[in-house]
Amino acid sequence: MKILTGNDLRSGAVTWWNGTGWSLFVDDAVDVGDEAEEILAREEAARRVNVPYAIEATIDAAGHVRPAHIKDRVRALGPTVRRDLGVPTANKTGWDWVI
């Protein structure tokens, strides 16, 4: 699947396109199919997201969204060495899948 991610303009926080807006939680990300470019252009122009881009991802057996590249998996939860600073409720499934 193809999902969209970027950073919040004001705070810089990592965000994920959930179909209607931008969520802090990677599990909210939705498959955008071939609409990526259109959504990215529209959302960035409206300043609802900063430097967004499309990435490949999968959904695991439990329904969790898993970005394909390690860099985006780290972005999804926060620094692996400061788990106390990670996205608060996004790590319900633990950190094992990140690395």
Partner: protein, 542 residues
């Protein structure tokens, strides 16, 4: 230390308000990210993996207690209660919000600090010997010369858009504690026949094409010092490549022209500039130098009570000889076993500030090794200082040991990184601390970078580790034999890389070979240079 004059303060204050307006326009949509990015970078604001990151300049690594307290306040007010001290003697905040950034810069300006020229293709923060002003072996305090260069290079209209970023280090001793020859320009202040002057090296650097800077002039009279630097930069600015960012650093120009031709062109430009007259007046250097007058040292005990073995070990490991024999410089380790190299909490920063005020003439230093330093501590006060540091988790006795690891932020924070650096540093320091091998191994400088840009100085590590992306997984190459010191050398890769567990084991194997083969008094680096790569390769891959 240097204090801003009215012009310095006015420039910094104006820059804060300029950035406040730029950020406002970005948030209102009047600037696109493409328009805003170069503006925020000129003010040290990056967009990193998880958030905006603000890099604050600490000129030649010198600051006072008041400044450290403001750095702590910024960590609490605008970030998440900590900061990260870097290999260029700066501090970085990892979670700054764009909407707060101008306020953070305004707070910095109240203590004569800023984030200007901590990014972009300009002359960056001038770095120096962290023991400057205290070291027994320095010719003079190099910081007045570094400060003169800071003033010359700040907002220099000709050097705001160089082909690539430009890093300068200034030292004043034979010992190199600032990786001077791994900078775009390295300056060593020297004395010849009673006259102070400057040795210039140009074209060094790490990154994807590591090079050691050749000597380009053995002696520049100090009243022509800035003129010569200007000539070096002019030649680079004119002929440095702008078509390929990977070949745009001055090291490529010096290498491709050859040092002799680069020198010829610099000398030609230098002669021209001398006729123009760009050197600041001598009075300006004298004015700056007055700010760096030595503190009022007093005599006192020259030895410590060594009955507490933990204290004695810390004294042996973490103190450095001072020019006054009743004092030492005390290294504050930001490398507790299993910790994150260079990170300090706001509370730790405040403890350090208090100790600086009480015990070190209100002076602090940031070391390029990602530690802090109290430059002037009376030997009589050492136990009190150590006790306070230890209580704050800052008393690790590990300077220059395998636990004193330089590690870049790596893939945990950096958008450029291919692999994580910090977890390796944590595991290695923990492993060696647990097994008690740190003391057995002695001096061993281990440096870890999470990508080829080499912010973790892996090329200069006695043992260097470079993280790479191998088909989507982290992989780590080991290199051996590097040094950033006066015996400068570039490390050589041992062979194929390892996964995370494998590289930890590999570091242990490498140290096993060292321990089994070292001669009396040899450091790891000495043994490597004597026996060469083969025994280590055999242990790793045989």
């Amino acid at each position: 230390m240097y204090r801003y004059d009215q012009y310095d303060q006015a420039m910094v204050d104006a820059r804060v308000e300029e950035f406040r307006d730029q950020a406002r326009r970005r948030l209102e949509g009047k600037l696109t990210e493409d328009q805003f990015k170069p503006l925020r970078l000129m003010n040290g604001l990056y967009l990193q993996l998880h958030a905006y990151m603000l890099r604050v300049a600490i000129p030649y690594g010198t600051l006072d207690a008041r400044q450290m307290e403001i750095l702590a306040d910024i960590a609490d007010k605008y970030d998440r209660g900590y900061g990260h001290f870097t290999t260029r003697q700066n501090i970085q905040y990892n979670w700054i919000k764009l909407e707060d950034c101008a306020d953070a810069l305004a707070d910095l300006a109240t203590v004569e600090m800023h984030a200007i020229q901590t990014s972009g293709n300009c002359i960056r923060n001038i770095s120096s010997d962290h023991f400057a002003g205290a070291a027994a072996d320095e010719v003079v305090d190099p910081r007045p010369y570094a400060e003169l260069m800071r003033q010359w290079s700040s907002f220099h209209p000709e050097f705001t858009y160089l082909p690539r970023k430009f890093k300068i280090a200034v030292i004043a001793s034979e010992k190199d504690r600032a990786a001077m020859r791994l900078h775009d320009i390295g300056v060593r202040i020297v004395a010849r026949d009673g006259e102070v002057g400057a040795q210039f090296y140009a074209g060094g650097g790490m990154g994807r094409t590591p090079m050691i800077a050749p000597l380009i002039r053995d002696f520049v009279p100090i009243d022509q010092f800035i003129t010569y630097a200007e000539a070096c930069l002019r030649v680079y600015n004119r002929y440095g490549r702008r078509d390929n960012k990977y070949k745009a650093r001055i090291k490529i120009l010096v290498h491709e022209l050859g040092a002799a031709e680069y020198i010829r062109q610099v000398e030609e430009e230098f002669a021209h500039l001398l006729s123009v007259g760009v050197e600041p007046p001598r009075e300006e250097l004298a004015r700056i130098t007055a700010y760096f007058a030595p503190p009022a040292f007093v005599d006192g005990p020259k030895t410590v009570d060594r009955s507490d073995p933990d204290f004695a070990l810390w004294v042996d490991r973490n103190t450095h000889r001072h020019k006054h024999d009743a004092y030492v410089s005390a290294v504050i380790s930001l490398k507790p076993a299993g910790g994150i190299p260079g990170d300090a909490t706001s509370e730790q920063m405040r403890v350090v500030a208090r100790l600086a005020r009480e015990y070190s003439f209100d002076e602090l230093r940031v070391m390029h090794t990602q530690n802090l330093l109290l430059p002037h501590v009376r030997i009589a006060d050492l136990h009190a200082v150590w006790t306070a540091l230890d209580e704050a988790g800052l008393g690790a006795p590990n300077m220059d040991t395998i636990e004193d690891i330089i590690a870049c932020p790596g893939l945990d924070y950096c958008s450029l990184a291919n692999a994580r650096s910090i977890p390796l540093a944590q595991r290695i320091s923990e492993r060696f601390a647990e097994t008690g091998r740190t003391e057995v191994v002695g001096e061993l400088k281990l440096k870890i970078s999470g990508c080829i840009n080499a912010c973790g100085h892996h090329h200069a590590g006695h043992i260097g580790i470079l993280g790479v992306d191998k088909k989507g997984t982290e992989n780590y190459q080991i290199s051996l034999g590097g040094s950033e010191a006066e015996d400068v050398s570039l490390a050589k890769i041992t062979g194929p890389g390892f996964d995370e567990d494998g590289v930890i084991a590999a570091v242990e194997k490498v140290t096993d070979i060292y321990l089994a083969t070292r001669a009396d008094g040899e450091r790891f680096l000495d043994t490597y240079r004597r026996i060469g790569m083969e025994p280590f390769k055999e242990a790793l891959y045989g």
